[in-house]
Subunit: 453 residues, 2 copies
Amino acid sequence: MVERLVIIGGVAAGAKAAAKARRMKPDMDIVVYQDETEVSYSACGQPYVLSGVIENRDKIVIRRPHEFASDNIRVLTRHRVEAIDVTARQIRVADLSNNNECATAYDKLILATGARPVIPAVDGIELEGVLTLRSISDLDRFKSTLSSLKPKRASIIGAGYIGLELAETFHALNVKTTIIEKFDRILPKFDAEMAQQVSAHLSENGVELITGQGLARISGKNGRVAAVTTESGLNRDADLVVIAIGVRPNTDLAKDGGIALGKTGAIAVDEKMQTRTPAIYAAGDCCETIDRVTGKTTWLPLGDIANLQGRVAGENAAGGNASFPGVLGTAIFKTFDLNVACTGLSETAARQARYDAVAVNVNRSDRARYYPGGNNLVIKLVADRQGGRLLGAQVIGPGKADKMIDIAATALLGKLTCEDLENADLAYAPPFSPVLSPMITAAGALNSKVNNP
Amino acid sequence: MVERLVIIGGVAAGAKAAAKARRMKPDMDIVVYQDETEVSYSACGQPYVLSGVIENRDKIVIRRPHEFASDNIRVLTRHRVEAIDVTARQIRVADLSNNNECATAYDKLILATGARPVIPAVDGIELEGVLTLRSISDLDRFKSTLSSLKPKRASIIGAGYIGLELAETFHALNVKTTIIEKFDRILPKFDAEMAQQVSAHLSENGVELITGQGLARISGKNGRVAAVTTESGLNRDADLVVIAIGVRPNTDLAKDGGIALGKTGAIAVDEKMQTRTPAIYAAGDCCETIDRVTGKTTWLPLGDIANLQGRVAGENAAGGNASFPGVLGTAIFKTFDLNVACTGLSETAARQARYDAVAVNVNRSDRARYYPGGNNLVIKLVADRQGGRLLGAQVIGPGKADKMIDIAATALLGKLTCEDLENADLAYAPPFSPVLSPMITAAGALNSKVNNP
C-alpha cells in the first residue's frame, strides 16, 4: 500500500514539508489539512498589504490548493483536525463547511499547527476595532475594519516586531499611534543602548511609546473601541486597538494526543524534527529548537525558521535523513527609516549565559564615503573575551543591516573569532561597500579588546 | 633612541600601516615616502570620478599629508625611494622637487610599493590619447585628456574589472566603446556560462567586445591616436585607447635590495607580512599571499586586501603580533546594471585544483516576490562532492550580489558545507529577502547533489 503522509497546517512549515516530501517520494499520498481558506501565505507580508506597499492581499498567497494538486498533494482547506490517536495512527477531522467529521489514517504525521496571538483577559477585548494580525483571516478582518472604521488614532499593545512594523503602516495611513509595552523597554533581544535608537526614531516619527505599563482595559462606545487604559491609569483615545503582545504555540492537539511538549511549552523535537511519538514530526512555530550559540532549547517562531524546519520534517517523513541543527536567533525588521537586525546573543544575554562577554559599538557608512548613496549603520558585536569567539551582533540604521547581519550570522555558524572576521576577505568596490566592510571594522575594534582585556 | 619606521608607498597598504603603527606605538618615528603628490586615495573610485558619479577628484583622497601630520606621521610626497641597503638598514631617497638625494636609516621598513599597469610593447603606445588608469596621476591625465580630446570612440584593451567598469563610464559619457581582450572570453575567474551573462549585457548596452585577439598596434594622426588594430587584423577607429590588460607588482626596489620575491613574482611574505629579510615587511599589491581555499601561494592586488595587509604589517612593525591568514579571492564590480561578484574557486578552478567539484546555478529574486523592488540574481555555488564543503561562489545580476557574496565568503572562512549553509539562520523580513535567502536555496540544491552524486 502507498504510504500516507498527513500534514496538519499548511501555512509555512506545512506547505514546505508537503512540497519537499513530494520531491523526495513521488508516489507518497500527501494530504494537508488547513482550517483557513488559504494555505501557503506569507504572514510577514501582512503589514505591507495594509500599508499598500504590497498592492493586494492575494499577492502574499504563495501557492493555492490547485497548485499543490498539480503536484498530487491534496490540500483540504476549511478542515480542522480535532484529535490525534497516536495508537491507532489516525486523526479525526471536521469539515468546517458542513461540520461533518471523519477519521483518517496516517503512516507519517507532521504537526505544523503554528502559533496564535496571546490575547489578554481585559475588559473590552471583544469590542469592535480590537484586532490581531497573524493569520490571513486576521488580515482580511483588519483590512475591512480599516475601511469601515476609518480610524484616526490607534493603540498598539506590544512593541514586538509586528507592533513596530504596524507603527510604520499606521503612519503611512495617517493614523496617530500609541504603542503600549509592558516591559521597561522595547526589543529585549537587543541591548538597551541599541533599542534606544529605535525608541528615539519612533518618537521622531510621531509615535508615542509608553513602556513599563501593560494594558489594563479597553473602553467602548456603542460596541466599538473608544479608548485604552494602561495599568497605571493612563488613558488614550483609540478607535483601533491592535493586540500584538506575542504568540503562543498551538499545542492543544499535540498535548491531547499525548505528544510530548518541551520545557518552552512548544512541541519537543529532535534534530530530525521528530517528536517523541513514533511516526510524528513537528515543524514551525508549534515546536521548539536548539539555540546554536548556547546549546540550550529555545522557541523562535519565525517564518524562515518554519520553512527550514518544514523542509527537514518533509524530507524525513518521506524517508530521508536530514537534520535541522538549530537557530541563531537571527531576526530583522524595518520601522520607518531604520533597519533593525540581530543574531546570536546580545551583550546582556551573553552575560546571562555566563560568558565573559566583551562588546563594541561602531558607527559606519555602508559605502565608501566618497560614493553617493551610502547610509549609516550602528553595529554592535559581542564576543567571548576568552578566545574572542563571536557571540552575537546587532545592527541598526538606514543602511544595509540585512547584509551585515547575514555576514555575522554566517560567522556565528562557522564559530569564527573576531580576529577571523577582522581578516575576512569580503567584497569591495565603491558602489557596494567601504574598502573595509563595517563588519571588519567592528570586528577589529572588538579584537583589540579581546587581546587586551 | 626612538625607533624609526619607514614606509615606502602611501596609497592603501602604506597609509593603513602608518595609521595602525601609530595607534600601536605613540612614540615611534613614522615616515611615509610617496612619489606622487597624493597619498591615501581610493584607486577603485577613479572610474566613478570620470563618469561624474563622484563629483570631484578630491573626494577620493581619503587623508591628506597634513592629516597624517596631526597624528605625528611624516608623509613626504614627491619623494622617490631609489634603493634599500638592507645591511646598513638605510634607504636612499630622491626629492623629486629638487632632485636632491639623501640616505635615511630605518629600524623597521614596510614596502607598500603597489603595482603598475602592464604596458604592451606595440607601435603607437606613446601616442596622445593612450591612457592607463591606476594612480591618481593617471586619473588627472585621463580627466584632462577627456576634456581636451572630447573622444567619440574608445578602445579599451583588456576586459578586467577596470576595463568593464570603464565601459560603463564611457557609455555615460557618450563614448562608443570597443573592448579588446586577448583571452577567448572575459572574466577567467568566473565559469564560462556565468561570464557569458556579462558579455551579453555589454552587447545589450552597445559595447563591442572582441575576444581572442590581443592588441597589435595603435595608429595615430598628428601624434594623436586614431585607430587600433588587433592581432588578427581587425581595425577600430579610436580617439581614446585605454590600456587595462592588468598590473604587475612593483618589486624593483625589493629585488635590487636583495629582498626575496616569491614564485608569483611578488614579494614573498609570511603570515606576519614579514619578508625574508629581517626588519622588513611588505603589504598590498607588491606582495603575495595565501589562497585560503587551496592553501597555495597567490597574488591578489585589490584595495581591500591591501588595507587588511597594511594593518597587519603596521601592527607587527610596531611590535605587535598580528597575522594575515590569506585571501579567498573575493571580488566584486559593477558594469551597467549588473553586479558581478565571486569568491573562492570557480567550478573550473576547483577541478584544476583536483577537487571532485559539483556545482549548481540558481536564478532567484533577492526579495520576496510579492514585495516591490526585488531584483534577480544568478548564483553559482561550487562544492567538494566528497563531504560537501563549499569551495566558491559566483553571483551575477541586478540584485544584491554584494550581500550574497559576503555570505558565501564568510561561509568559506568557516569551512561550511552546503548542508550547513542550507540550514543557515539568515535574516528574513519581506523588505530584505525572500523567506529563504537565495544562498540557502542554492546551497540546498547543491546539497542534494552532494548526497546523491
